[in-house]
Symmetry: C2
């Protein structure tokens, strides 16, 4: 794979969506952290805190409206959105719908062996791809980003 | 309370949003069932299956796209949306954002003692009210519906 060349061609901004407050599944949280590290190597991830294991559970210590408005702004600013939909999350569902409104290039990643995915996501216009491990997920992300003009 | 008079004045259609597939919390599921029964006494609930304990866990046996498109249509058709946001859910988050897009009268109900609510919901423009039990929640719904023109 020519990931390095890819990063030279485009300096993209990414919005990575994943469960924070509800994330009891440490495996998914660690995978998100690794995926964000990968995305940061080829562009800039606006939502780096999603992969921060220290803030999960309690969430971020800024007012909710500020978090909401900032995240809505970041979605607009981003070139692409990658959402890990392996964990049920009100916030991630909300963000995905916002992406559809904005016609933002969006990819949903879903860990195999997770529970059956919500029909609202699986039946929406956003592509959902299942992955088994991080390198698998990176291949999927790479393929998705290569298709964005 | 003059609930009966209320039902005579308006025959409203309601969209009730709540976690289905992810709902392991039977208490919330039973509360949803009771709230839907109440709403059906004053109008029509389009999403009656949300309170159906038999389909939770596995979800409905129709294709995801069909569920998605039907639910999006039902949101548009409804006069008001009541969402129970006590359980993390991609679908409910997605539906709430759709309500905001449509400027649909929407109320989020949140059970006290539930985990901290997602900042995307708590910080959005949709009102969130916490409740302790079903009769409490019914009072909140009644007050909310009375305010809809």
């Amino acid at each position: 794979m020519t990931i390095k060349n890819f990063s030279v061609e485009k300096k993209m901004k990414f919005y990575f969506a994943g469960s924070i407050r509800g994330a009891e599944d440490k495996e998914i949280l660690e995978q998100n952290h690794e995926l964000i590290t990968y995305l940061n190597s080829i562009g800039t991830v606006l939502t780096e805190h999603v992969g921060d294991i220290n803030i999960s559970g309690t969430g971020q210590e800024i007012p909710d409206k500020q978090i909401h408005d900032r995240d809505m702004r970041w979605i607009e600013e981003s070139n692409a959105v990658i959402a890990n939909v392996s964990i049920a999350s009100l916030g991630v569902g909300y963000e995905i719908r916002r992406c559809i409104e904005l016609n933002k290039p969006t990819l949903c990643l879903y860990k195999c062996q997770s529970k059956k995915l919500s029909a609202m996501i699986a039946g929406s216009s956003v592509p959902v791809r299942s992955y088994e491990n991080v390198s698998d997920a990176i291949e999927i992300i790479y393929e998705f980003l290569s298709g964005i003009k």
